[in-house]
Amino acid sequence: MSIDARAFVLGCSAIGAGIAACAGLGTGIGQGFAAGKGAEAVGRQPEARGTILSTLLVGDAVAETSAIYGLVVALILLFANPLVGQL
């Protein structure tokens, strides 16, 4: 059985996109950790709820960057594949 070069590259790109999306793993753990700490802080100091919430959201946004980079890599591999053009 012979494999078309284009099909091979496309299939490997799809696998690569799936692996790139794994970047969300660490972000999920990190954001869950931050949210848990935020809930703890609100429990200890309920009157500072607004400040804690905005700090938590900004921290989460920065932590989310790596997951979004993974998503962008996955999207490029799926929809704007640069490797197929090099065949």
Binding site: S54, L57, A61, L71
Partner: protein, 226 residues
């Protein structure tokens, strides 16, 4: 994969090679809404009364909320940034919400978010040099002089991460909505997409607009004197 699932732009070419894409059209619609609102608010400004009611109440409410937001993040001294950030915030918010009326969100295009990220970049360095000249250059050699290249890279990463965050979040939501509409069986398409729109367009859209503005404010504030 069905044709509808592709994230390709659909556009028409004008004579002269200018392409009118979906992003451009929905951006014009968002700009039209914002400009119309601004013009109406400006015309009504003459008839504003000391005791607000109705439309005046709404305008004063949003301006007041935003002024307080900027003052609490950047301090009383830099409250004039509220003008710029109110425009940016309302543009990003309406762009993200435009997915609700079947437009392609303009922020799902890297060109749009890169323009927003670059304007933050210009503001950071313009105000850093103009207001805080000595400290600005000194900050590149902190904490140790040989870390200069790393400081430059971290400055250059700011607009990239700002624009890619907004772009990735919006485009991800856009693609997931496309998946929901194309892959779900017919009987699931009554009412259920509203929940997904509520999450991806309304919740994530408001959150990303808020995060873009507050991160820009924090970065600009970091280069300004106390």
């Amino acid at each position: 994969m069905s044709e509808n699932l592709s994230i390709k732009h659909y556009g028409i070419f004008l004579p002269g090679g200018v392409e009118i894409t979906q992003t451009l059209v929905s951006m014009w619609i968002v700009m039209g809404i914002l400009i119309t609102f601004a013009v109406i608010a400006r015309c009504k400004l003459r008839s504003f009364k000391p005791v607000p009611a109705g439309f005046q109440n709404f305008v004063e409410l949003i301006v007041d909320i935003f002024d307080n937001f900027v003052v609490s993040t950047m301090g009383e001294r830099y409250s004039y940034f509220a003008n710029w950030f109110f425009g940016v915030f309302s543009f990003i918010l309406l762009s993200n919400l435009s997915g609700l009326i079947i437009l392609r969100p303009p922020t799902a295009d890297l060109a749009c978010t890169a323009a927003l990220g670059l304007s933050t970049f210009v503001l950071i360095h313009f105000f850093g040099i103009a207001k805080n000249f000595k400290e600005y250059w000194k900050s590149y050699f902190q904490p140790l002089p040989f870390l200069f290249p790393l400081n430059v890279i971290s400055e250059l990463a700011v607009p990239v991460s700002l624009s890619f965050r907004l772009f990735g979040a919006t485009l991800g939501g856009f693609i997931l909505m496309g998946l929901v509409y194309n892959l779900f069986p017919m009987f699931l398409l009554f009412g259920l997409p509203a929940a997904f729109h509520g999450y991806f367009d309304v919740f994530a859209g408001c959150l990303q607009a808020y995060i873009f503005t507050i991160l820009s404010m924090t970065f600009i504030r970091g280069k300004l004197p106390e």
